[in-house]
Every structure is written in structure tokens, then in C-alpha cells.
Amino acid sequence: MKPFKTLDAIACPLPLSNIDTDQLIPARFMKRSRAEGYGDYLLYDLRFDESGARISDCPLNDPARAGARILVTRRNFGSGSSREAAVYALADYGIACVIAPSFGDIFASNAVNNGVLPARVSEADCEALLAGLEDGALTALVDLERQEIRAANLVIRFDVDPVWRTKLINGWDDIDLTRSHAQAIERFQEEDRIARPWLEPVAAPGFTTLTQKHD
């Protein structure tokens, strides 16, 4: 993962609350592999009508906001389904930071795992930022080290889980980190086997656990 320190980019206002992950990536588009890219499908039903034509009053379709890497939106962004494809859609579209007063928990951790910053601001700061962007401000500067957003003459402080902040700043990957604890994991299992001998699933006769055949 690429380290995230500061981001100076076009910001797009999306003044809606409760944008759930079903809207971020509608279920019908989730069958493709990541290699094919998810960016075209981001917020598909907000951006395109039934005939596939662009909906002109959707802020993401504003030509001035083309190439936006920052999204500013209202509360409860990314609620709902745990589908990480919602973050793939954002990331593949180019979004590297979402600013909102609250986020769905699973969405936020998925975002961090893909190098996308979920920046939490107060409701009042969020409204001021939205207003500034809607009045014509085009870009924002997000400084993760200082936890600060500068845009439209505003300087806004944002919150992010300190562990996530460290992860993003360093571009760390959990799996490499976990593997360095392999011995502790082994030890845990040995002790746990004695403390909770009922952990391992008991298969009833007639049910095979590890072998099954498919055509």
C-alpha cells in the first residue's frame, strides 16, 4: 500500500446522508474481478439513469469535479453491507479520502485496508465544508499527520483512529505484521486446546468435513 501523508486534490461535495454500500456499488455489479476495475460503477444509480445516461445534477458528473480524489458527504457514510467492493469502487474511481461526520464501522476499516482515509469531522464543520465547495471552492488539502483539512478558507480538524492513522501514513499491510507473531499464534492454540477442548467442530457420521466432490 502507498503511504498516505497529504493529499491536495479536487474535492467533490455529495450532500446526502446514509450513503450505504449498496449505493456505492449496487449488488448487480459485484461479479467482476478486481483486475477489471470497479471505478465505472461507483454510485452507479446516482450517477446514471435507467438508459445509462449521466444524471447532470449529480455532483460527481460536474465536469469541474472530474478527477476528484476527495469526497465530502453527510452522516453514516458506508453503512450497511460489508462488501469491500464499495471501497474498490471509490479507490478505482480515484477517491483517496472521504470526509463525513460518521462512517459505517466495517466500511471504515475496509477503506483503511485499501489506503483510503475515512476522515471524521463534526456535523457543523461538515456543513461549512459542503457550503464552501458548493460556493465554488474546488480543491482541498488533507494533511493526515496534522489531522487537518484546508479548503475554502477553512481549517478543519478531523478525527481518525490513531492505529489507522499510523497504518495509512506508513502504508502498512496487516498480514506481514501478523506473520511476525506466528509463534504467539501457535502458543495460543496449544493453551486453548486444553482450556476449550470443544473448539474443533465434531462432524456427525454421514457428513464429510474435508472431502467433497463437485463436477
Binding site: D45, E50, S81, E84, I106, D174
Partner: protein, 476 residues
């Protein structure tokens, strides 16, 4: 008195969390051991990550695959479905067989929706940590397990290490005391709670449900309640194990047996919050105040008792909330002030991991018995086991005679991934968990409610109060 709180007083959540900590980092992140990992078709992203690292599954014996999100419900013939969906199912088969993971494929007598199958097969046990790449994993918390949904990167991490980095969320307790009125169900408790605290009201919190009304719920009811924790933004939902839990688990296929079971029971019954455990937030509700609830908007917090009217945004002081209500009514095609019982429906769906268990089907069938549905609809049992049980009880005949389709188990019209969709503009009375824009298909309009309320709506042709049907000999 605050001064007397014992420092070691623990909430149920902490008891389960603490015994799974493999190691703790200085920054507070804990590496958590995972007891059960459940997979469905969406796991292909995670397996792709394994492939990229040439890694294998660390504990295939603790990992279980289930075909549910994409399976056809009108047949079990894979060749009958469109190629892209077939590919989703085949990927899961290939990935699980390559990594020697037990798969409940759609022909398996134990197949069904992952959150119905886990408990039913005895894979879900008290005190366990259970994860799945699905937000409704909270369902398993009904057994006093710590169960939560994760994303694909985390699925890959669990596959490779059987652990996950986690930090303790805050703790919240929802206490529901008193008695539920006849016909009022766990779904109504959950929707009432979400309407009260908001769809992000429990964000960053682990919820514990307590109180006499919760204790009197069956396991099915507790599962419905915990299932909906995520719709309040909660990380997970839990109920302390008790005799109801133990009775449910005895003799389940994958549960421990005999003496080992009894030993486990001794342990499980210690899993409850200490009397002086502290919670970051407490919510109290009186069961007697809870009425049958329906949603009228596009998030589960847009819920009201069936006796109410559609809210008028002009009468709402909070501007942001008023704007949200306007958006919702616009999408749903509703008028402010309209009685909820005036809302006509086009379709009914009974199913999903929220409400597709035997008790749910019985509640719906009790209302359908001897009546016709005024709208078309689908009844999809939560699992093949539930399906067989319902057929033994003759419930399938009641649904068919009412004019509904009785189909196979799967996620079906909850999310429409398998092609079971609500057509654009149509209004569906649904026992599912999400009324999001386009959730049941592009342009679909979803009203969430309990199985009995969905049945009452179906036989009325409009949203209706199921209590009107209680007096008229509804013993099915």
C-alpha cells in the same frame, strides 16, 4: 455506588474478547484468535489475494463455505442460471475444494443462508469469535458469541492466519424489560430501537441485549434481534447464553456431544455481564410500549408503529433530518401525513437471514391460513433444514394456497443477486433488513416488517396491523 465497582468487573463482550487475545500491541490493537470463519460466494476477492501471495488456508477445519447469495431459488440446477452467476458459484466450489474447506453447496441437506446454517448446524457456539465477510454476522451473537462482519482484506487475513487485528469498541447495553404484546416480535423491538437511536446510533459500539423481554425470546427471536444490530451501526450484538441457548444447541450436528458438551455448558453459563460491569451507553425500553412497526423510508431508522402516519418533513425542526425525510418520501412515492395502513403494496417477500427461520414461517403461515394473498410473492426458507421442517408441518401448503411461491433456500430477494428482484417502482412488504434505495433491485421500494406483518399486508393488499388478525382463529 461508583466507588465500589470492582476493577475486574467485565461485560459479556469483554469476557469473550479477552480470552481470544493472542497478543496485544502497545497502541492497544489486539490480535484476536478466530474460532469460526464462514465464507460465501463473495469470498473470491479474498481467495484472489491468497493466490497472489501463494498462501494457503491456515485452519481449513475451522472454515466453512456456504452457497447462499447467488444460488437460484426456483431450481437447484446450476446449468439453468446465467453464466456470470454460475461463475460466482463455481469459484466458491473451486476455492473451497482446493483449500480443503467443507462446503455446503446448494445440493447439501444443510445448505441455506450462512447466518441460518451456522447456528442450525452447531457451528455457532457461545463464547466463540465468529467472522464472515457479511455484515449480518452479528446474528450469531444471539448465542453469546462475538460475531461480526469483515471485508475482503480481513477475510484474506483470517484465511491465512486464523486471526484478526481488532481494538475493543465501546460497550452499549440495550435493556428491554416487560412483556411484549401478542403478535409483537423481535423484529419490532429491533426496528423500534433503530428508530430511536438512529441508523448510526450504535456506531463504534458492541451491543449487549438484556432484560426480561430478551430472556423470554426464543433463539430465533434473539437471532433476529442481533441480526439487526448492524442496522443500528453496531459492531456486533450479543445475548448472554442461558438455558434457552443450551437447549437449542444440544445435539446439533457440529456441536460437542456428551461429556464434552456438559463441560462446555459449565463454561458457557459463566458468560454474562458482571452485575457491576460498566457500559459506555445504556438504552432502556419497555416491551409493553412496542407496537408492530413498519418502515416507510430508505434507511431502517425510518420506522414507525403501523398505527402512525407518514411523517411530514415540514413539521420536523431538525433541518438535516427534514431533508432526509423528503428524500425518502420522494424515493418511496409517499405523501406526508398519509396513514401507513393506506400504503398499497405490489409484492411480498418472506425470507432473509433476519426472518426465515421456522418460527418466522409459522408466524406468517398463521395469518395466511385460509386466506389469499392479494399480491404475488415469494417465501424462501432460511435453509434446507427449515424447508423440510416447514413442509412436515404443512406450512408450504398454506403459502401455496395463499397464492405464493414456495422456493428453495438462499438470500434470494433480500439482495437480488440471484435474479430474484423487485421490479422498478414496485413496493414490496419484506421481512428483510435493508430498505436502502435499490437494495431489492433498481428502483425497488422496500417496507421492512415482521413475518406476521408482511403476511397481514399481503392478505390486505396494503400495509396492515397484524393484530387485527389475531382474534379470528389464526391457529395454524
Amino acid at each position: 455506588m461508583v466507588a465500589q465497582i470492582a476493577p475486574q468487573a467485565k461485560a459479556l463482550f469483554d469476557k469473550v474478547f479477552d480470552r481470544h487475545v493472542v497478543t496485544q500491541r502497545q497502541d492497544g490493537e489486539c490480535l484476536l484468535w478466530i474460532d469460526r470463519h464462514l465464507l460465501h460466494e463473495g469470498s473470491f476477492h479474498a481467495f484472489d489475494k491468497l493466490k497472489a501471495r501463494e498462501a494457503s488456508v491456515y485452519r481449513p477445519d475451522l472454515t466453512f463455505g456456504i452457497e447462499d447469495h447467488y444460488v437460484p431459488t426456483r431450481s437447484r440446477d446450476l446449468s439453468s442460471v446465467e453464466p456470470a452467476i454460475q461463475r460466482m458459484i463455481r469459484q466458491l466450489r473451486d476455492n473451497t475444494s482446493q483449500h480443503r474447506v467443507r462446503l455446503f453447496d446448494m445440493g447439501d441437506p444443510g445448505q441455506g443462508i450462512v447466518h441460518v446454517v451456522g447456528p442450525e448446524q452447531g457451528l455457532t457456539l457461545p463464547g466463540f469469535t465468529i467472522v464472515c465477510g457479511d455484515s449480518h454476522t452479528a446474528t450469531h451473537g444471539a448465542f453469546g458469541a462475538l460475531a461480526f462482519g469483515i471485508g475482503a482484506s480481513e477475510v484474506a487475513h483470517v484465511l491465512m492466519t486464523q486471526t484478526l487485528w481488532q481494538r475493543k469498541p465501546k460497550r452499549m447495553r440495550v435493556t428491554v424489560d416487560g412483556r411484549l404484546a401478542p403478535g409483537v416480535s423481535a423484529k419490532d423491538i429491533a426496528l423500534s430501537m433503530i428508530a430511536r437511536i438512529g441508523a448510526d446510533g450504535a456506531a463504534g459500539h458492541a451491543i449487549e441485549y438484556a432484560g426480561s423481554a430478551i430472556r423470554s425470546l426464543s433463539m430465533e427471536g434473539r437471532m433476529t434481534l442481533c441480526n439487526l444490530s448492524i442496522e443500528a451501526g453496531g459492531r456486533c450484538g450479543m445475548v448472554a447464553p442461558d438455558e434457552t441457548t443450551i437447549d437449542y444447541l444440544r445435539d446439533r450436528i457440529y456441536a460437542p456431544k456428551g461429556e464434552l458438551f456438559e463441560r462446555a455448558v459449565q463454561d458457557w453459563l459463566t458468560l454474562s455481564s458482571d452485575a457491576d460491569a460498566l457500559f459506555d451507553r445504556e438504552v432502556h425500553m419497555d416491551a409493553g410500549d412496542i407496537a408492530p412497526v413498519v418502515t416507510w423510508g430508505i434507511t431502517p431508522e425510518d420506522a414507525s408503529p403501523i398505527t402512525d402516519c407518514v411523517p411530514d418533513p415540514d413539521a420536523v425542526a431538525d433541518e438535516a433530518r427534514a431533508a432526509q425525510i423528503r428524500e425518502a418520501l420522494d424515493y418511496m412515492g409517499l405523501r406526508p401525513g398519509q396513514a401507513l395502513t393506506e400504503i398499497r403494496i405490489d409484492r411480498v417477500f418472506i425470507g432473509s437471514c433476519t426472518n426465515s427461520r421456522i418460527e418466522d414461517l409459522r408466524a406468517a403461515a398463521a395469518i395466511f391460513a385460509g386466506r389469499r394473498s392479494k399480491v404475488p410473492g415469494l417465501v424462501s426458507p432460511g435453509s434446507a433444514v427449515v424447508k423440510r421442517q416447514a413442509e412436515q408441518e404443512g406450512l408450504d401448503a398454506i403459502f401455496r394456497q395463499a397464492g405464493l411461491e414456495w422456493v428453495e433456500a438462499g438470500c434470494s430477494m433480500c439482495v437480488g443477486m440471484n435474479g430474484d428482484l423487485v421490479p422498478p417502482g414496485e413496493r414490496c412488504a419484506s421481512t428483510t433488513n435493508r430498505n436502502f434505495r435499490g437494495r431489492q433491485g433498481p428502483g425497488s421500494r422496500t417496507h421492512l416488517m415482521s413475518p406476521a406483518m408482511a403476511a397481514a399486508a399481503a392478505v390486505s393488499g396494503h400495509l396492515a396491523d397484524m393484530r387485527l388478525f389475531l382474534d379470528h382463529g389464526t391457529s395454524a
